[in-house]
Symmetry: D4
């Protein structure tokens, strides 16, 4: 249980929305959990929800479908929401055998399962993407933000070379509590958006480009050197990380 | 006037805390300002406060004391709070001739002048620094956060090689609404702090180090690759930028 | 004599605007020039004007004032327009002793002497600069473009973080035949301008910035990866080179 | 309609070469177009022709054949010339189903369809390539320049190690209005050509080479540091971009 | 025979644990070995055991299964312990034909055969790994350390983002004579462990990560810049090298 | 008190070499020390000796002489051995005012004070340097190793281009328990020495060189890729770090 | 005909070893050759032999088997020796159809055909390789040197970690007129060999290695920074280039 | 005595050009020399002449004038020719006190003293430099080649942007036995010269340039990737190294 879930639980107890027996059982289950569970090849961290506000997320890259499925099963058994990133459809097949209601998001390459709905954040996270090729990263951010309890607004293909496409969406930019901007190539979009809004902007460089884009390095460097204020940056293609920090911001009281 | 200032102004009007004449005069002054003022070598942006929540900040590096003083004078004349970063004491001397109450922060290398107190953010910004040599960057962040209307808590010399120094301060970490972490060399501190808190962490790599630290590049790369979630990164030595985004987060309703 | 000068000369002959004696003398002077003159430490290229449309330009960096003055004297003696770039005021002092009418442009760090006015190009070269610190590079471009026979329009401090400053100048952008854009830090300005105009854009990355700007490398990479079309790039801080290609474009019939 | 097309249209109206009805219909069609069309995964920019002088070009890399075909169909439906770069023959197959007269250029990896002939530029674009392996990039430039309305002259396999092959073609170099030079490895060819002509040279580094060529980085750096004037550079392997700027230069009045 | 083996042999002679005939035969065999054996494509170094304390190890990468098998056969024929690193299961198949008792370690990708047990080192080598994906490197180190005569303790998935998992294992850290730490991404684990122990720490950066991890470069740089003392570093993914130096330390008297 | 000092102390008590009163006083002093002392700009770590085997070492670079002197005074007051690295002679002047018996090592740029002699390690640390210019780094290692309680043997100017100078010293190489090798330029010396000894080798790249040595990067990379086994590497110019790990190895029982 | 061939031809004429008719025919054939032959995709340079001492060599990488075969046919038709580097066995199949006596060298990946034996150079080219994995590069050098008319001595697997393997071959090193050294990883072998011989050494870095070897960059940098004199360097894996310069040296009178 | 000197000595003995006593004395002096002399901070290598063909050369950079003077004195005392590179005029002053006939070459920054004239090489070394700023490197090569016993021909300021300056000197290029080419910026000159001559070319990249020349890295990479054959490369600004290998080539029989 993270901070918000603890408060919700105590409110429910105080208002009698949960029976004493159920409350006792729920508390016992939480308290009796080991802080982590050793699977030999991994230590599943069951206290991450309490410490960090969201259960452990499985980074699928470099793990076999079987490993992913077995970690996913342990997370689900602990009553936690499931999120697997960088997952192939093969991994999804394997997870389905353990958890038949696990959902696969193809563009985002994520597997999710919404057992305990995460409490909603206060505002909207707007996710802007410069071009069509940035969609996998933007969608990883969108799915992550969604499963972490946030309302998401998508604003795609608004690169700076056609500025009118962005300026027409000024209202949606203004309505967001946090903005995530995914862009490859020269990575200029966060600078432009950063100059238009007064809320935090999280920039995600993508590996989209060729030649001297060096797998996203150019976009990364450009974003770190942005002349606009209020912009911070995450790793190349790290849609998940951008959403995690945006969600953390959006869940501040 | 930024969002918070507009609300405060309207509340004051509604509650009669400001006379109709004063209110009218104030509104007129704000509305009659040009969006920017052309000094020949610079266009001072007088609408930045409205658009971005804080007036234009002067980046002192590469500007002469005379240029800095003349931009500072225009900002003050527009009734805005003054912040000059990367400023030498010579620049301060020059500014003093225009604005006798301008203050110089030596370690931070900043000049400030608090004409209109910026409305306070909701919580505390904790600023952690790994070593003594990181203090100039940490202090640039602290002064910036202060002048932008935030309560600041400083936690210095808590590098990961002596973990007990950090773990003893768990309470202060837990009390922050946003955490800024400045570190050079291997840049590991944000990863450790990121695993201990559930609020946003803004990491600032510093150029502290030698040899293969490559002027802060190693710390920057390490922070971008952090295995902890909830961490975003700004440019090397960019204490100002870290504070700006932390303040933007801390001023969210 | 470059192409335009040859035509002008022949027109003058045809229309009797030059006496036969003067014409003969002028032609003889041109034809009797050695293709280059050996000063021991340098071979001054006297045919560059014919081959490339502008006399040899002296790159001052790494040459002593005495060397610069002696090369300048040879160029002037050949009846050519003088341009020295990357020149200190000391170099100017030395040149003045040889050529008392040589002019020093302080911000641009250039020395010029306009003996034979270069024929004018067809349109205007607009020079945009993102920030105040980019002015030395922009001015090197402006002085170069001027001495090479171009009308120059300066548009300074129009960085992308305050887009309204740029959008207000749409008319001036539209009136140019070529646009030069100088920007440091994230180097995003050429992408935005490139999306607004249909004429060639020459982007000049500047070494303005700190940390991960790596002395202009970030701006250079960003410009090379621009998502806008019609943009080409020159070396970091190479205001001269940008102006040379812009002038070459502007002098096309 | 770009500038030249507007003028041609008005001339046709003035001279009665177009019936009033057709003119009205044509103008209505143009004016009633949305500035862009939202396909979900892309916003097709229908005003790019007016703003930039050529319709939106589809960058095929990273798009599925189906996506390419559907964007191509929208562009054709708007009456625009089609150019798809970095296209596989599979993509061509998919486009053929929508547009049976689309042509595939194998070496250049481009798809074109010439519905409305773009007005011709004033001169010739010469495309020089250092070696056989640079041909795909040179041909991408050639096809692009052709479809954008330019006369193209190809000068292939003229690398600097066998200078006589280049020097023999002096006449063709001298006849060009713009020169594009594609070279990999040490990227020296633009410097040599730049010293021989007085028109703008656009240099395209290619990824041809091995070892310390680092995928074209060496050629890119060499071209940026050219000691010849009048040279600007585009991204590695960016034949399209080189042709776009060359065409923009060649279409100047 | 390395130093320890020579002493053990002489002790056995002195104590009569070996017959004079066997002792003579053994010594003759050792002394009559050529220092190296030329296979045409390789010179198998038979004196490495004497010079360096362990027989030549076969680096399997870039060698064919047949080449590996033939080198392995020569090493075994010389009576030496076999270790092949970076070996595919195909290579194992080939070796099995020569040496039917050769064992394959799948995660570690190593082939071993323990003919003459290497004398044991004095203490334990603890091998810590930050995450599941670092296991291949950690296991290469573990198998190498084992075959080189060391007691190995494995401590896996103890990355710094969940510090409690590491701190609970303080006793095991304290019991080691040498510690090997394998970590990718930001490579922070050696710094934290280095601050907790007073024995030598050998850090192995792994290529685990994506984007700005640059194939392990970030972890490598971070480890080289560690603020903790007592840490040295080997090449990216070099589990073998880390174990070799740890074993060399552990076998010091 | 580190491990060895605790044992020595207990032995002295057991054998009556220390009076009960003195023993009680000494133990009390140690136990009553705060784990660290906060000087405002630094937290002096008084438990480092217990945790890591040697008291906190002051890294002088980037600290003012006054700061260094004040930290040095606190370390001495706690009864600890003093070592300041990267110290100017100015810093030594300042320290002398607090600690008149502090010694300055000019080539090594270190300040030391040997209050409590550190217990000796078991063997000799050999320090090899490739060229004369590597001496400052080698001497930093030598002074550090000395003050940390090790016998040091210096072997200077034995670069690989004159192999006979090294091969003649085979006996000294063979007598060492640990070898430190400092080399700049191509950094080949550790590979050669690593092939000659069977004890651990700690390689220190130095910034000696020019051009493509890139401030020691070439030597660093070469050492990380050494084909010899038993070699680990520390940061460029980090003579201190090399000695610290060598001392840690040399003090193993 | 290169210099040596011209002399040999004239000698033959003078001594009557060739009939007047044959001599006339041969001279006519040579003189009537076009300087290059245009195949559309390539300009085969038939005068390279005269200008550079060896006919044009075909760099096979990036060319189709058909292209290679057709260029090879033109070279053979001109009576020139054939060398194709970086050739697959497919390319050999294609060449065989045109030239049935073309030979394929598998390890070297070269195709050769020795129509006119190139005159022999004066001495021996020794080719040293550090490890088994460097053989493809060493063999490319060996085949090239052979076909260019040189006696070749091969010295393989003599890396610096086992120095005795190299020192035993001192006589062969001393007998060479030029030495080529191929090495990957830390690239130290040229420095050691350079210190042992007084003839020119050509160093070839290879891409052998992993992790921080960066595809041969480390070996390249190490070789450029060699502390031994008399060493020059060619591109990574450029066995051909090393042999070409060695042959050029070996053919000096 | 190197190879050539040994032969000359034996010839003199055989022909009676040296008295038996003088010959005996000379041989004794040579044979009684220690292989190296230990000055504490340096081991002067007295056998280098025999092993490598030229006495030890002093690399002045990073040595104090006193150190240089004392090494120079030992070399002179051994009867060897003196060459100090990278020497300041202060170093020359110090050397003059020991060796009053030592000469300083200002542009080359070298100190020489020609006690025993080195035997002449067979041909001429041509040294070409692209621009005026490359002269210090070219002169270091020229002085080195001269003192090592070579005839030197200088060809300066012949950069590729003005190709006619180079092509006019075809005869001098053709007359050389070895060519050294020094160039900064894009480093294209070796490729062009390499295509014109059939003798070995040694390319020296210089640090001349700015921006993306990265201190000579661009020129270095370009030269390594040269499309011309017969070119090898030395370190940036390494005029000495280029001359040493050129001299080694020129002294081959």
């Amino acid at each position: 249980m993270n901070r918000q879930q603890i408060r919700a639980f105590l409110d429910a107890v105080r208002q009698g929305n949960i029976t004493p027996e159920a409350a006792q059982e729920r508390l016992f289950q939480v308290l009796s959990q080991q802080p982590y569970e050793d699977l030999g090849f991994a230590r599943v961290d069951h206290h991450r929800n309490a410490r960090q506000g969201f259960p452990e997320v499985v980074f699928g890259q470099g793990k076999t479908p079987v490993q992913i499925a077995s970690i996913a099963a342990r997370i689900a058994a602990a009553g936690h929401t499931l999120l697997v990133t960088r997952a192939s459809s093969d991994a999804h097949e394997a997870v389905l055998k353990e958890l038949p209601d696990a959902v696969y998001h193809e563009t985002a390459r994520c597997i999710t399962r919404d057992l305990h709905a995460t409490p909603r954040g206060r505002g909207t996270i707007l996710i802007a993407a410069a071009g069509t090729a940035d969609l996998p990263v933007a969608e990883e951010a969108a799915v992550t933000a969604d499963v972490m309890g946030n309302t998401v607004d998508r604003l795609y293909d608004v690169g700076v070379a056609g500025l009118h496409r962005l300026l027409k969406e000024h209202a949606r930019l203004g309505a967001a509590r946090v903005v995530i901007v995914a862009a490859g190539m020269e990575g200029a979009l966060p600078s432009v958006i950063g100059g238009l809004v007064d809320v935090p902007v999280v920039a995600v460089p993508t590996s989209v480009g060729y030649g001297a884009s060096f797998g996203g390095l150019t976009a990364l460097l450009a974003m770190l050197n942005s002349c606009a204020t209020g912009i911070s940056v995450v790793n190349i293609d790290n849609g998940f990380g951008a959403a995690a920090i945006a969600s953390s911001i959006n869940h501040l009281d």
